[in-house]
Amino acid sequence: MKFKSRTTSPEASQAEAEMLELVKLKRLESPGGQYFANTLDRLHERQRREMMQASSSRLFLDRLEALFQSMTPRRWVAVGSVAYASLLAVGMLSLQWSGTGGSHSPSMPPLAPVSIENPQSAAPEQGVRVEVRHTPVLSAKEAAQRASVDRELTPETPGPHPEQEPETP
């Protein structure tokens, strides 16, 4: 897109020209004569300092970057092929691993998981039998009642009378 030129009066043009002359004086501003004498040494010092301060991770990234930049297309193809083969190998191994049910030997059939809520979930053909016995917890009163009922129901067995003295030989 062409920039549209702005029309100005001759006075304005002269004022602008004078201003531009004044602005050009800035070209003459420069640091002292000796300033540029040691800038190169200070640049080297700064680069050394930066290198010393660079973290190990930064250095690693720099090396990685340099490595990638040195890679030719042939090397990329070779690296890509190795990576693909490795991924394929890992995938096959993991498939085989999950197919055998973890750390068991291939000759053992896998065991089905057993659920406590549903003991029948264990595969019956594998001969696994799970019994869950529920033992109710009784309070002291209930226990006493049950004991008295048990005593009534069970036949009396002869035993020593509490007041009878034991026989002495």
Binding site: V23, K24, R27, E29, P31, L43
Partner: protein, 196 residues
């Protein structure tokens, strides 16, 4: 015997520096440090800041040299690094504090040939102390926005063509011309009292 790169082209120096020959990069630094310092100084109006940004510019250029593809000239590339670093610095400084006049560089225009000139500018130079003119010029530039200042410095002080400025700033030539127009108009208003 150290290699002599004095007559080498920029392109060959860049290639040599990319291969790790630090002397080649040193030659590029010696070749362009004054011009890079100049643009940074005019944008910041402060010698210490310009000094720091000059070294930072070349240190960054050295780190990024491998990414330089040679699509533009080395000078344009490093100039763009300098201008962008300076613009970022100025934006941060603006947030932190306003520029104090005490920070302005006291270096003068002592023996300028315009002192012998009979024009209005020559008369202005004779009337005012050079330090005063310099201070007013710097103050006027600091009153422009960073983007307008960058364009005015590059075009009116550094005499760079519009196309190169556009390439450095990553904007269109029309944008450069528009910014230059508004920057000049503002400068005229600010510097009007010096000229009359």
């Amino acid at each position: 015997m150290p290699e002599d790169y004095t007559d080498a082209s920029d392109e060959s120096l860049v290639e040599a520096a990319k291969e790790g020959r630090t002397r080649a990069f040193d030659e590029l630094f010696l070749r362009y440090q004054r011009r890079i310092y100049s643009v940074i100084y005019h944008m910041t109006s402060n010698h210490e800041d310009a000094d720091d940004l000059l070294l930072e510019t070349f240190a960054k250029a050295y780190r990024s040299l491998k990414r330089f593809q040679g699509r533009s000239r080395f000078y344009t590339w490093i100039y763009a690094i300098a201008v962008n670093l300076t613009l970022n610095f100025l934006r941060k400084r603006k947030r932190r504090t306003n520029l104090s006049l005490d920070e302005l560089d006291p270096e003068g225009l002592e023996n300028h040939p315009l002192l012998e000139d009979t024009s209005l500018v020559g008369d202005t130079l004779r009337r005012l102390h050079t330090y005063e003119i310099q201070e007013k010029l710097n103050k006027a530039f600091q009153m422009l926005s960073e983007d307008h200042r960058a364009v005015a410095i590059m075009h009116d002080v550094e005499a760079m063509p519009h196309a190169e400025i556009a390439s450095i700033l990553g904007v269109s030539e029309g944008t450069v011309r528009s910014r230059l127009f508004y920057a000049r108009r503002q400068l005229q208003g600010i510097l009007g009292d010096i000229l009359r």
